[in-house]
């Protein structure tokens, strides 16, 4: 320890000239205020120039000292001076490194502190507050210093081991991406943050300790020093990645029965499959996603993020979703159909819709919409020229005809897959709101919220205009009738319109400041989700036939298809209780919900 202190004080004393230079540089922000253009914003100029200069100088000193503190002596064959003395490698490294790090921080502080004091509030504005900028700078300087030392060790030895180091670096970066990506896909902001911080801290610790091993085993010879560094560093990084990998493996290994909270339940109509997303015990905000069979309880883990959801064919036999296309192509998504990869690729921002028979899929990539044959992966048709700023809804009218509806302003186009031609069929309707279009089951009519019109789905020509209400939620049902809800004074008023646009019924729901229209059930039932639970409304009679408190779901995802999800008359629906349990419930009758998983 005393040897390390002796070295530390010696090294620090040798840097007096640098500190004097920094003190001179600290005057630069103040001199900058003498410029005519700067005089009106004195505090801003001092804060900005001072902060920028301090960061640049701190970083430069970190890079320079990191690259020279040990490696220069090794490269210039002067390390024997230190090894001829009763000096332990740890004392040598920590003595020199701590002095170098303090030098970097002092260089930064000598310039930053006067600017911070003179800049006052301006400093806070530019540099996110005193604590943040100082903390981040200190960490950044330490990282730069250690990385610079590692880099200099590897490069200045001029050893062939450099190729091996490069190989390991590539493997480590690849492994890191593989580790973090599943966590990101699980929507785990907090876990990702702490995992990244943990990995970074552990890697920094390896970087900080590796030079001790480097000096202990490599001693005065630069090539042996490099070899010793690599022999410690890469296994160290390997252990860090292994530990992090084990944690991630445990994180993603949650089973449906482990779920403590269920975030969403998406049910594929006429299918036994349910897409369940939730968080499990001890796994923070990481959301596991499962494709669960509601009849058998069997499940498969799906790598699709919770916000993408699944699409299904009309008969429920074809289920499709997007997930990362491979280990190293994490930013590219691949269409999976019934668990099988199709080779059809999409980008992270893509949305997709399946044809009624499940044979084709349309993928929207912003400006372009492409239709693929699911079985072969071949392109059946493609159209460009869409406005990427608009939100495009799309649906297959038939397997050969895709209709694209952009809002706002509302514009309609059809892609005929037999002729492979895109035709603009509808005139712009400027009053349409974003995401405001819903379409009837047969695709002949649509309802546009905002102007509140029932229109021809192909031409956009208005057929009927509804009440001039400001509806917060509205949807056209399968048969062309419309359900719309307006909210005021903590209550919801639900209006039920016939396909002709005539209002047939009105329901008032006190204590319901908001609701979502989340599906319909064959036989004229519509599912409303409130903050209390589920309501099943008989559209024809205008009455609530079932009220289920404490259960919510199924909840469709915000997909590209503007048609409301329609469940079979006899289908059991899946929901989640407030305690996070999955339950099955009947939209008809008053039978109590039963647990899905035992």
């Amino acid at each position: 320890m005393s040897a390390a202190i002796a070295l530390f004080t010696r090294e620090l004393r040798g840097r007096t000239r640098l500190f004097v230079s920094c003190a001179v540089l600290a005057c630069v922000p103040f001199l900058a205020t003498l410029l005519p253009a700067a005089q009106a914003h004195r505090a801003d100029v001092i804060a900005m120039v001072g902060g920028f200069l301090a960061i640049c100088v701190g970083a430069a000193v970190a890079l320079a000292t990191g690259g020279s503190v040990i490696v220069r002596d090794l490269a210039e064959r002067r390390m024997s001076f230190w090894f001829a003395k009763p000096l332990h490698p740890a004392a040598l490294w920590f003595g020199k490194a701590s002095a170098a790090l303090l030098t970097c921080l002092l260089s930064f502080a000598i310039i930053a502190v006067p600017a911070m004091l003179a800049g006052g509030g301006a400093w806070k504005n530019y540099w996110l507050g005193e604590t943040s900028v100082l903390g981040v700078s200190a960490l950044g300087i330490a990282v730069l210093f250690l990385v610079s030392h590692a880099f200099a060790t590897v490069v200045r030895s001029r050893s062939l081991l450099l190729a091996l180091d490069f190989f390991f670096a590539v493997v480590a970066v690849g492994a890191l991406l593989l580790l973090v990506w599943p966590v990101v896909l699980g929507g785990a902001v907090e876990v990702t943050k702490w995992l990244a911080l943990g990995i970074a801290a552990a890697m920094l610790a390896v970087l900080a300790i590796a030079p001790v091993w480097q000096l202990e085993r490599g001693r005065a010879d630069i090539r042996r020093s490099h070899a010793a560094f690599s022999r410690f560093f890469w296994p160290g990084i390997g252990v860090v990645l292994l530990v992090a990998g084990s944690y991630v493996a445990w994180l993603v290994s949650a089973k449906p029965a482990d779920l403590q909270t269920v975030a969403s339940v998406e049910q594929a109509p006429r299918s036994t499959k349910v897409l369940v997303t939730g968080t499990a015990a001890g796994r923070g905000d990481y959301q596991s996603t499962f494709l669960l069979d509601r009849t058998t309880g069997s499940y498969e883990r799906v790598a699709t993020p919770p916000w993408w959801g699944i699409e299904s064919s009309q008969d429920g036999k074809v289920l499709a979703w997007l997930q990362p296309s491979g280990l190293f192509r994490v930013r590219q998504l691949e269409l999976h159909v019934n668990g099988r990869a199709t080779g059809i690729l999409a980008s992270l921002s893509s949305r997709m819709v399946l044809s009624g028979d499940g044979a084709r899929v349309a993928i929207d990539n912003g400006r372009t919409v492409t239709v693929y044959d699911v079985a072969t992966g071949r392109i059946a048709g493609s159209a460009a020229g869409f406005d990427s700023r608009s939100q495009a809804s799309m649906y297959f009218v038939t397997s050969d005809l895709l209709r694209v509806v952009e809002t706002p302003p509302l514009r309609i186009a059809e892609l005929d897959l037999r002729t492979r031609r895109l035709t603009r069929t509808g005139s712009p309707l400027s009053a349409a709101l974003r995401n405001s279009v819903s379409v009837s089951g047969d695709g002949t009519r649509m309802f546009v919220r905002g102007p509140n019109v029932i229109a021809d789905a192909r031409s956009g020509a208005a057929i009927a205009t509804l009440d001039a209400e400001r509806y917060g939620a509205a949807s056209m049902l399968h048969d062309g009738s419309v359900v719309a809800a307006a909210f005021a004074k903590g209550a919801a008023r639900v209006h039920l319109y016939g396909p002709d646009g005539v209002r047939r019924h009105e329901l008032t729901l006190p204590g319901t400041p908001g609701l979502w229209i989340t599906g319909e059930v064959e036989g004229g039932r519509v599912l409303l989700t409130t903050r209390h639970g589920m309501l099943v409304v008989d559209v024809n009679r205008g009455v609530i036939v079932r009220k289920l408190d404490g259960v919510r779901g199924p909840t469709p995802h915000l997909g590209a298809d503007p048609r409301l999800v329609r469940y079979g008359a006899s289908e059991e629906l899946v929901g989640r209780t407030e305690k996070g349990q999955l339950v099955l419930w009947q939209p008809e009758g008053q039978a109590a919900p039963r647990p899905l998983l035992r």
Partner: protein, 289 residues
């Protein structure tokens, strides 16, 4: 117990073998001169002996302890003057002394000051600005100020003029006489070492080809000139060459009885002692100076 004991030490740099299975020992209070041509492996062996280089095979003990494992502790008992001026050039001599004084347990500042005074080196001079000779003098002064039990001098006179060489060796001799210091020295200054060394090792192509007491070497190695043919010599000859009508041989196992027998046959025979330099040349090669 030997101060230095090398046992089958092999040092490799990649595929190149710099030191090949060297075994030697240095007794307490003795001066061991390790000689060899440039690139013979002296410095590599010295670095291995100082625990700066891990041998690929074999091991080195200093004062009975493995130097690779216990280098930090052992270095407190050893003073080193390296082949190259390796001290940080930006440091002043007094800073070097201050640093060393905090690292060694038996530091004697007065000894250092005295020597620097004798050498005429200013304490506030920067190490990098000193002449080559002054750097060596400072290195020696620093090494001796640690009151070492073993002094390792790796080619200490390299690049020094005659006066500087003389003063450097005088310091070593004085310290040896005073404290019974053990010295390991590698040098090309064979005439100077001849008065100092107790034992000599010659390293050639990484192998220790000669390791003996200096006096024993001098009595073993003789130049013998005689009238007969080379075959008439009854001693081992390192080399033979024509000498007039007779032969001149460098013998490595000179024996008075054998020489008297030779002399009986040829009255013109003569035997002359060899200097260390001559012995070295006969063992290590003609080019060495």
């Amino acid at each position: 117990m030997s101060v230095i004991a090398a046992d089958g030490v092999t040092v490799r740099y990649g595929k190149k073998t710099a030191v090949d299975g060297v075994t030697l020992s240095v007794a307490p209070g003795s001066v061991y001169a390790l000689l060899g041509r440039n690139g013979a492996g002296k410095s590599s062996l010295v670095r291995a002996m100082l625990g700066m280089l891990e041998p690929a095979r074999g091991r080195v003990t200093l004062f009975g302890e493995d130097v690779w494992r216990h280098r930090t502790r052992l270095m407190d008992r050893i003073g080193v003057v390296s082949e190259e001026a390796d001290a940080p050039p930006e440091l002043r001599v007094r800073d070097l002394a201050a640093l060393s004084s905090r690292l060694y347990s038996r530091w004697t500042q007065s000894a250092l000051d005295e020597r620097l005074g004798r050498f005429g080196v200013a304490a506030n001079a920067r190490y990098g600005e000193l002449s080559k000779g002054q750097k060596k003098q400072v290195a020696l002064a620093l090494a001796l100020a640690t009151s070492p039990e073993l002094l390792v001098l790796d080619d200490p006179t390299l690049g020094l003029d005659v006066v500087a060489r003389k003063s450097l060796f005088e310091e070593v001799i004085a310290d040896m006489a005073e404290r019974g210091l053990t010295v390991l020295i590698t040098t090309h200054d064979l005439s100077a070492i001849e008065t100092l060394a107790d034992r000599v090792g010659v390293i050639k192509d990484g192998k220790l080809v000669l390791d003996d007491e200096l006096e024993a070497l001098k009595s073993r190695f003789r130049r013998v000139r005689y009238a007969g043919a080379p075959a008439a010599l009854a001693m081992t000859a390192a080399s033979t060459r024509a000498w007039g009508s007779g032969t001149e041989a460098i013998v490595t196992d000179y024996d008075d009885v054998a020489f008297e027998r030779l002399r009986r046959d040829s009255e013109a025979s003569e035997s002359t002692p060899m200097t260390l330099e001559e012995i070295f040349i006969s063992v290590a090669g003609e080019e060495q100076r």
